[in-house]
Symmetry: C2
Subunit: 271 residues, 2 copies
């Protein structure tokens, strides 16, 4: 029995999220089917991040166990040959049989894309949230800065969060929350064009990134002030924060595990 | 009767090209239907560039005549309300009744996107041509440089070109042909990642940009040399050039008309 670790990229538009659901088209379901065909035995992957319906990923992580003799590094190609075009295995390798993608201290990085203009750009619509209102990007940056660090994020979590319902705590650390946009460009019909928010953290509660981005957009439109963010955090009340921004703008960019960085460091010291 | 000039953006993936075809979903057909509903009379637009099936546009140009009293600048909004999501009117204004989008000396700029890696990135697949082979971007740049200037482009045109069949000449001027890529980045599974070729010219023959890019890709893979380009031009024979690269990578970025630039100059001098 070999445990295989895979990295997964997908366009989430036409998937009902990552997690397997009977009768629904899901990323997990598509990979289980393709991997079962490739390996000739029933395969069930365990994913690191169960992204929502419509959310994209450049590098989600999962593992599965197999008796199959396909060399671990060739597994990506074998599964890809049986996958639909909107999901790809971008890497595969053997890993220790007790390695689990969710039980390790990892750093997840998300990007949230907003398209600001009087009308949307049809070539960006699948991968960005359309906002037609005039936005103040500097106020949005300031709001994001307040969110950096360790806080209780109850106000920025969907109360249906399994973690919260089970009585778990809502304290999380955001290592970085930054924003970039092309200051020279403008949208195809006025506006700022594409804005990208990047958020890295030790873990995120249900809908947390989308509620943060929805609240930051409301700061951008002037409906809230950047200085309100601290109050919202202190309130520990979902009703104080802003909307849950649409899933189409959200991309899971990477999941880094500490042991990989140790390997990277060792390799770079050796090299 | 007012002549209205519009700018049009579209995701070409689900359209059978720009030009109206009975029973097919086309950009022209979609805009004619939406504009006819908005104006309350039958509308037929005349487009500047009849892009192929699958080709995208950020700013194609068209005109139409109407008796309708909607203010010209509000026409974009009125038509957009009746258009499918993958096509948008990004600007509308009144223009002289004899202004024609195809009979003027214009500069068209195209971008061609190539995604180079061992597998494609599912979040870029709709808007880039996937090339899994190892590419030499410097050789590709050199090939593009040879194409700049005024040449007979018979070798780079589909022989079914209406212009060529009618005995028209194939001499065209390429003002700029350049290439950019993120030298730090790499594809999600090796390779260079996204490469963007930009080509501006006085006019292009049928499939010309795609045949140029297909040939440049073959230079990148080593199947041809950058120094072969001059010979291919001299041969005036389509069979000497490379493949027609897929439509999904091609985006019509802009069409500039000399009279607009005069207006821009005047405005900037006045301002």
């Amino acid at each position: 029995m070999t445990r295989i670790r895979i990295k997964i990229a997908y366009d989430g538009t036409d998937f009902c999220g990552f997690q397997k659901l009977p009768g629904k088209r899901t990323v997990e379901g598509a990979i289980d089917s393709a991997a079962s065909l490739a390996c000739g035995e029933p395969i069930s992957i365990i994913g690191a991040s169960r992204t929502d319906s419509g959310v994209h990923a450049l590098s989600n992580v999962a593992v599965f166990d197999t008796e199959c003799r396909i060399p671990p590094e060739r597994m990506a190609m074998a599964i890809n040959a049986r996958l639909p075009e909107d999901v790809r295995i971008t890497a595969s390798e053997a890993c220790p049989s007790d390695w689990h993608p969710r039980k390790r201290a990892s750093v997840k990085t998300y990007e949230y894309r907003i398209y600001n203009g009087r009308t949307w750009d049809p070539t960006r619509k699948r991968y960005s949230f359309f906002c037609p209102y005039s936005l103040d990007p500097r106020a949005m940056k300031e709001a994001l800065a307040t969110l950096r660090g360790t806080h209780d994020f109850t106000s920025f979590a969907n109360p249906a969060s399994q973690v919260l319902l089970r009585g778990g705590d809502a304290v999380r650390t955001i290592y970085d929350a930054s924003m970039s946009w092309d200051e020279k460009a403008s949208g195809i019909l006025g506006g700022i064009g594409e804005i990208r928010i990047r958020i890295s953290g030790s873990g995120f509660l249900y809908h947390m990134v989308r509620i943060i981005c929805g609240t930051v957009i409301e700061v951008g439109t002037g409906a809230r002030k950047a200085s309100d963010i601290q109050e919202i955090l202190d309130a520990r009340d979902r009703k104080k924060a802003g909307m849950t921004a649409g899933p189409e703008g959200l991309i899971l960019c990477s999941i880094e595990y500490p042991e990989d960085q140790e390997t990277d460091k060792r390799v770079s010291q050796e090299g």
